[in-house]
Structure formats: C-alpha cells, structure tokens
C-alpha cells in the first residue's frame, strides 16, 4: 500500500494540473471565464509556434527606426535606409523592415504580422546563456533549467483538449528548453537514416520499460512522431542545412508545419535558429544578418504554405534573448545589448502595426548609455498570446507559466 501511495503522490507532484482538475472548483471557476474554450471544444483548433533566435538579434537592423534622428549615426555603416539598391521596406512612417524579409512585409500588409519593438525579458545582464535560460525557462532569474514556459503552459491547459492531448513538438535533435518539462513532447528533425525495423524498436522499448523508464519515455515519444512524419512527408526529409542556414530554417519550419497541420499532430511547436551573434561584419540590408533574416522570412513562408487552412488559426512568435548595442562597435558589428524586437506572424495575429513605446536613441535615452532601452516586457506579449490563443487565465499565467510576474499584465489585442 505504501508503495502505491508514494506513486500517487509522486504523480501529483509531476502533474500539478491533474491535481487542479481533481480538486474541481478552481478549474470550474476558470472555465466559466473562458469563452474561447467553450468555442474551442467545437470548431476552433488553435496552433502556436515559438521560434527562438539564439545569439541575440540586432533589433535595430531587423526593424530599423528610420524616423529616429539618432539611428543612422549610431548604426553607422550598417544602418538601413529607405534609399538605394537595397532599400528598407517601410512599415509605417517611423519603422522600416530589413529588405531581406519580403514575406513578412507582405503578411504585415495583409494584417497577418506585427512587430513588438524595444522589448526584452526581465533579464538585464548580457550573457547569452543566462539570457536564453531566462527567455526559455520563463523564470525571473537564470539558473532554472528544469522546464520551459511553453511546456508549463501546455501542462496548464485542460486535459482532454486537443492541444494538450497532442503535446508539444520540439524541432531539431535536441528539444529547446522552452518546451522541456513534464507535459508530453515529441521530437522531429530532418533525417538521413533509414528507420530501424519495428521489431527492433519494440524490443528496445521492452528493455527500457524494464531497465530504464526514463529512456522508455523519451524513446516512445520519438517513435510516435516518426510515424506521423513518415505519413505526412514520406521520404522527403533529408537535411538541407544547419539551424543557422537559410535552407535549414525553411526545412525545419516546413517539417513542423506539416506535422502541425495533421489532424493527429501536435498543436504547439518550438524551433531554435542559431547564428545571430553578430559581433563583427554584421552587414545591414545585405550581408550576414540579412542572410539570417531571409532564413527566418523563409520559415514564415513555409509555415503559411504547409499549414494550409490551419494558418488562419496559427500564431507564431520569433524571440531572442536580448538585443545588441545601439552603436556599431569597432569591427562593424554590435556587442551584447538589451532591448530588441519580437516578430509575430500568422493568420490568427491581429497584425499590420509595430507596437512600441519608443524610448529614443539619444545617449541619455539608451539603457546604460549603450543599448536600446526596453519599454515592453516580452513576457506581457507571451502571456497575451497564450491568454487569447488558448484562454489561459491571468492567474495561471502568473503562478505557473511565468512565476513571480504578477506585475506583468498580459498584452491584449494581439490575436484577431
């Protein structure tokens, strides 16, 4: 008996959401205030994608504040401009998009894309690795890497909903931290190897169930998604490039989209694109950063194409750990900074605007005299998307998904 008791207690610790449902009143109360969920049980079947741009994206080169009188001087030789061969694409009278992103510009014009500018997490140091941990864990400080906010959001969704039944999809050989945790996660990556036979797979699973339950869990998840991938993509899954190449970004997006479009596929996915740490020879309208941005742009296009009708219920957000210095450094690049941009795209996004409480770029307006000052908390954006896309309550968002963020209110009006 005592063994059973321990087991039950263990599982309630691992799955607090189940405990919440069993206790009843809390969950019922939440339901009463979630009109979208009532709807979701019927026709609505929302999708959500998080793209993590690792290495710190220079927001001032991605979406340039052309209208700010200090911008051109600070960004110097790599500043974007509305004139010339590679003119930036105006988004409004103040901001212009890097010309490497024509797809995003088209989506923006169709009100299916938006930009959040001068945005950052709560992290104010300049370490990539701590910055990424904070960005992905959703915790107020570095050092918590047991689970990511997207996984905890998934865990907090009512059991039995489509979104929680299908779990999350981690793209790439390793699951990004943002999606790690207790809620079920499947993995997919472009593949060069012929699949092992079912009999061998079954025997290995048998061995793991007896000798190593943790390996049984992860292997089981890997084998499950593989079945859907084979059905949806056939043999067309050879890797075309790394996570920092244009072809690799496109392919990761296309694979994720095909899996998410399948009726039995996951509804939530996380991807990670590398290479944004542009300390030297960053380039502006062309060059290294522009190349990476065109990869991201390609990823948006692949999602739009492969999701088909499901695009209309999809929200995608691309986020990075922090921005870069406002002033170009001694080697025509930028060093680690603070405020930056987040890209939103998808048929579910209420787009067509750049949301920014613009802090200005004069020396005294910069954060610590060097970086774009953050005026919007990225967690407000993420909370807003989770609230409007999945109906998660503010209480769940501040207690479980982004702990200790009671003061950060979900941003409203991001979803149409």
């Amino acid at each position: 008996m005592s063994h059973l008791h321990d087991g039950a207690r263990g599982s309630s610790i691992l799955h607090p959401s189940r405990r919440l449902l069993l206790t009843g009143s809390g969950a019922l109360f939440a339901w009463a205030h979630m009109p979208k969920f009532a709807h979701a049980a019927g026709a609505r079947d929302p999708r959500f994608v998080v793209i993590v741009l690792r290495g710190a994206l220079d927001g001032l080169s991605a979406v340039a504040p052309i209208g700010d009188p200090d911008y051109a001087g600070l960004h110097g030789p790599i500043a974007l401009s509305l004139a010339g061969d590679h003119a930036a694409l105006p988004l409004d009278s103040f901001f212009a998009l890097n010309p490497a992103m024509p797809v995003f510009a088209r989506l923006y014009a169709a009100k299916q894309a938006a930009v959040i500018h001068a945005v950052a997490t709560g992290y104010r140091e300049r370490s990539h690795f701590d910055g990424q941990d904070v960005l992905e864990s959703g915790m107020p400080k570095p050092g918590f890497v047991q689970s990511g906010w997207l996984n905890r959001a998934l865990e907090a969704m009512p059991k039995g909903e489509r979104v929680s039944l299908k779990g999350g999809l981690g793209v790439g050989p390793a699951t990004p931290l943002v999606l790690r945790g207790n809620a079920p996660v499947v993995g997919w990556a472009p593949q060069t190897l012929p699949a092992a036979g079912d009999d061998l797979a079954m025997r290995v699973m048998d061995l793991y169930r007896q000798a190593d339950p943790h390996l049984a869990k992860v292997m089981g998840e890997g084998l499950d998604i593989d079945k859907i991938a084979m059905r949806e993509m056939g043999e067309d899954t050879k890797p075309k490039g790394g996570a920092d190449s244009v072809a690799g970004m496109r392919q990761a997006a296309q694979g994720a989209a095909k899996l998410m479009a399948a009726p039995d596929g996951p509804r939530i996915a996380a991807l990670a694109f590398d290479g944004w740490d542009t300390h030297a020879n960053e380039g502006g309208a062309t060059g290294r950063l522009a190349q990476l941005l065109s990869g991201l742009d390609g990823a948006f296009e692949e999602f739009e194409k492969a999701l088909g009708p499901q695009w209309n219920e999809t929200a995608i957000i691309a986020i990075t750990e922090f921005g870069r210095t406002a002033k170009v450094n001694g080697t025509t690049g930028t060093d680690h900074g603070t405020g930056t941009v987040a890209f939103l795209a998808g048929g579910a996004i209420k787009g067509g605007h750049v949301l920014a409480d613009w802090p200005g770029l004069r020396p005294e307006q910069l954060y610590e005299n060097r970086d774009l000052k953050p005026t919007t908390d990225l967690r407000a954006v993420l909370k807003g998307l989770l609230a409007e896309q999945f109906g998660l309550s503010e209480a769940v968002l501040k207690d479980r998904v982004f702990p200790e963020t009671g003061g950060v209110k979900p941003m409203r009006g991001l979803i149409s």
Partner: protein
C-alpha cells in the same frame, strides 16, 4: 569500494573513459579501478597528439592563405576571359555571337540543355544517381586538414586503453571551445588549437592552459579579438575602428569566473582594452611567421586598466598576462571549474560537498589540473553515484566503435552521424560548448536517431560476434539481467548487437 569487482571496473571505464573494449580491460580495471585510471594518466605525454598529417597552426594557415590567393587568381582569370570574350563577341558576326552566348551559358560538367530525351530522369532523380563522369573536386585545404585532425582524434579515442586522458581532452576542449563553422580560418585551425592549447595542459596548470587558449590564433579569431583595436592606440586614432568585447566577456563568463562570478560591464570593457593587440600575423608575414600569434603594440590600448577593483599598470602584453593570472587565481574560478568538472563526470546535480572539495584542491594547488583530476578519482562520489549521465552523441559513437572493435579508417564514418545527431565535431552552437546534461541528449528525436543509427551499423557488420559473449566481455557482472535477457532472446546476431548497443549499459555513463 565494497562492490562487485566487475561493477567497479565497469565504472572506471564508463564514468571516466569511453567504455570497455572487451579485450580484458574490464578485468584489468576491476582489480584496482583507481590505480588503473591513474596509471593511464601517468604515461608520459599521454594526452599529446602529433603526426605528419597534423600541421602546426601557422603552417595550416599558410596553406589556407596560399589557397585563397590561388582561388582569387583563378577568379580574376575567368573574369578577364569573360570580358575578353564579350569584347570579341561585340566585334564578331551574328552566327559566332550565338555560339559564344551558348557556351557561356553552359556550366562545366553539365549536359547541354535541349539534348535530354523524354526518358531522361527528372532533375531530382538525377541528384540521387551516382555520377561517374567526373571525380569529385579535391577537398579544400581546410576540409583536408580538418578531416586529418578529426581522424587522428577519433582513432586515439577508440584505441586508447581506458580513454580517460581523451575524456579530459574532450572536456577541456568543450570548455574552451572554438567552432569550425565560424570560417575557413576556424576550420583549418580548430584541430591544431586542441593539440597546441588544450592537450599539453590537461594534467598541468590551469593558468598555463588559459594563457595558451587566449593567445591562440584560433580563439583570437573565433571570438573576434584579432580585429579589436584600442581606440587610443596608434591605429585606433588613425582609423575609425575600435573595440570588440566578445572575447573579453567570454573569458570572464565562460573561461574563468563564471556568470555570477562578480564582474561588471565595466570589467568586461576594461578586459577588452587589455586584450587589444592580441592577434595573429596575416598572410603577408610582415610581423613574423604568417599565421602565428603576435602582439601588435600599434593596436594595443595604452595605459593602466582597472579591473575587478585592481589596477594593472603593465605595458603591452604583460598587462593581459597579469590579468589572466589574476582571473585564474580567483575563488570564483575555482568554484566554477569544480562545478563543471563534477557535473561532467559525476552527475547533473553534483553535491555541494564534492564541488567544495574539488574547488579547495584547485585553489590549494594553484590550479593543478592533475591534482583536481586525482581528487575526483579518489572521491567516494565517483564510485557510489549511479551511472545516470547520458552519453553525448560523440561519447556514444566512440563507445560503440570500441565495443565492436572497429577503429575508423576515415573520420567521415563518425562525422556524418555526429552532424545528424546534433553534435558536429568541433562545431558547438555557441562559445559555451555543447550541453552537458541528461535532458539535452536523452531527447525523443535524439534517442530515435540512435536507434536508427545502431540498426544501420549492426546490419552492415560483416562478421558479427555472438552478442551474449560480447556483453560478457564488455560488462561482465555489471550487466543487468534485463539487458542479458534481451540480448540473449534476439532473433539474430545483428539484432542482439543492436540491443546491446542500445542498452542502458552503453547509453549511460
């Protein structure tokens, strides 16, 4: 160490090495596991690696520079040829013009458009067909050197007795990583970087390794210091160029103090100024041997610098040396290294007691890495903590090759699978190296890839051994009953071997 002797021997080979080879090493290790490990490290020069195909950094870089010059000359020649032809075409009669136009449209080695018949394969099919007409172009120098370096490293790891010295090399090489994906420069030097800056010091003094790493052309290039210029230096005043703080930040964050180690943005910028002038000689060899480290006084920021509350008044390069020695001696550095070392070899969450003990040894011995390593081997935790870490893809593939007695002839057999599994050799995603946690490697996609890979590997084995006998030779009494049963009941030798290679005994360390 009152345990099944096979178990202790298995731990020695698995926790500290690349796994058993099944050639009697389990028995040898079982009788005195600690002595077995220390004996390997006691062999003179055990961590060094050299060979005729492994050039010194300057020599490797000179090959690259020469290749770049030759390629540029070839490009210029083609440009000129094209311009000449265009000029000739402008002067020629119309019939000839057409021929010139067609010729210039063709790419070398491709069939003329329009000659393919209806039955010709579609373009995507052609991509997959062998194309015997033309031999592949010779590899570029950076690819050739990279492959030679990789082959030497992989063979050493598979052939070594326990592989403990090689595990130490891999640990420190990942700690102080350079990524080959940065550029041709990085790709052609990354192997030499490990041989020159890491291997000589894995059992030596930390401050020596630190200096060797931060003054190596490969690191100076990877973290952009080679281009960083002091704004008040001779060159800085003349040009518009200036500081790049990338290396300075990572030295404090990743190489010494660690992120909570008590430094500020001002300290980072000060260190960036201290390190200006640390660069390497360019292709022209004006300042010395082309491709070698050199201190450029013209780009070094003059004057004293204050850092971590101390003033460093030295002139020139001595300033940087003094700062590195200071950083190596800080208690935060000892703690940071002890924690990483214990996390790598013992568990994702090593006990504070162990970290504290290792940090103490590091400090008391002024960063003697041999003393640090021996302290780990002598700890109780090394022998009574469960083997619950997950082998990284690299560690796993080396373990597989050792277990099946297969010394790779060519690095390609391992480099390809490493790329697929998300751990390309010497090409981590960032300067913090590859992840070192169970969660990072025991992923759904990662496990499925291991299974597919093992299925393919065992299916190709020409003369597969009896899997139960091999399990005995590798693990002896340390194998679990479940693994023993699963291997014994396999329907074929290949399947039995696949189960053995996928078993927790081979996956965990």
């Amino acid at each position: 160490m009152a345990m099944n002797p096979d178990k202790a021997g298995f731990i020695a080979l698995t926790r500290f090495g690349y796994g058993p080879r099944g050639d009697g090493d389990l028995t040898a290790a079982a009788s005195d596991p600690r002595g077995f490990l220390k004996a390997e490290l006691a062999q003179p020069g055990i961590a060094l690696l050299a060979g005729p195909s492994l050039p010194r950094t300057p020599i490797a870089l000179q090959t690259l520079f020469a290749d770049q010059v030759a390629k540029k000359a070839e490009r210029d020649r083609l440009e000129k040829e094209k311009a000449d032809m265009a000029a000739a075409a402008a002067a020629a009669p119309p019939a000839m013009m057409q021929a010139v136009a067609t010729a210039s449209m063709e790419k070398p080695g491709m069939e003329k458009p329009g000659t393919a018949s209806m039955e010709a394969p579609r373009p995507q099919d052609m991509m997959q067909m062998p194309q015997p007409q033309k031999p592949p172009p010779p590899p570029s120098p950076e690819q050739a050197v990279f492959k030679a370096e990789a082959t030497a490293r992989l063979r050493r790891a598979v052939e070594s007795r326990a592989g403990f010295a090689e595990r130490l090399v891999a640990f420190w090489s990942n700690y102080f990583c350079v990524s080959a994906n940065k550029s041709q420069f990085a790709r052609i030097t990354v192997g030499a970087f490990e041989r020159e800056a890491i291997r000589p010091h894995v059992l030596g003094r930390f401050s020596d390794m630190l200096f060797a790493v931060e003054s190596h052309p490969s690191m100076l290039h990877y973290l952009d210091n080679a281009q960083s210029i002091g704004p008040q230096s001779k060159a800085g005043i003349k040009s518009k160029r200036g500081l790049n703080e990338n290396l300075a930040r990572e030295i404090m964050e990743l190489h010494t103090l660690g992120v909570g180690g008590g430094y500020s943005q001002d300290d980072v910028t000060s260190l960036a100024r201290v390190l200006t002038g640390w660069t390497s000689v360019g292709a022209n060899g004006k300042e010395g041997e082309a491709g070698a480290f050199f201190f450029n006084a013209d780009t070094h920021e003059p004057g004293a610098q204050t850092l971590l509350g101390k003033t460093f008044p030295q002139d020139g390069m001595q300033q940087g040396e003094a700062v590195l020695i200071e950083l190596a001696r800080r208690p935060a550095t000892a703690h940071f290294i002890a924690a990483k070392f214990a996390r790598h070899f013992i568990a994702d969450q090593p006990s504070d007691a162990l970290i504290h003990r290792l940090a103490g040894v590091f400090q008391d011995t002024d960063g003697d890495l041999k003393a640090l390593t021996f302290a780990l081997v002598d700890s109780d935790e090394a022998w009574n903590t469960p083997l619950a870490k997950m082998r990284s893809p690299y560690e796993f593939l080396i373990a597989v090759h050792r277990a099946t007695d297969h010394v790779p002839e060519d690095a390609g057999q391992i480099l390809g699978p490493l790329n697929v599994m998300g751990m390309p050799l010497w090409a981590p995603p960032g300067p913090n190296g590859f992840a070192d946690s169970v969660g990072a490697w025991a992923s759904p996609e990662g496990m499925k890839l291991r299974l597919d890979l093992v299925a393919q590997y065992t299916a190709k084995m020409k003369d597969p051994p009896n899997p139960s006998d091999l399990l005995d030779a590798l693990c002896g009494g340390a194998a679990s009953n479940e693994t023993r049963q699963a291997v014994a009941h396999a329907e074929s030798r290949q399947q039995g071997l696949a189960l053995l290679l996928m078993s927790p005994e081979l996956q965990r360390r």
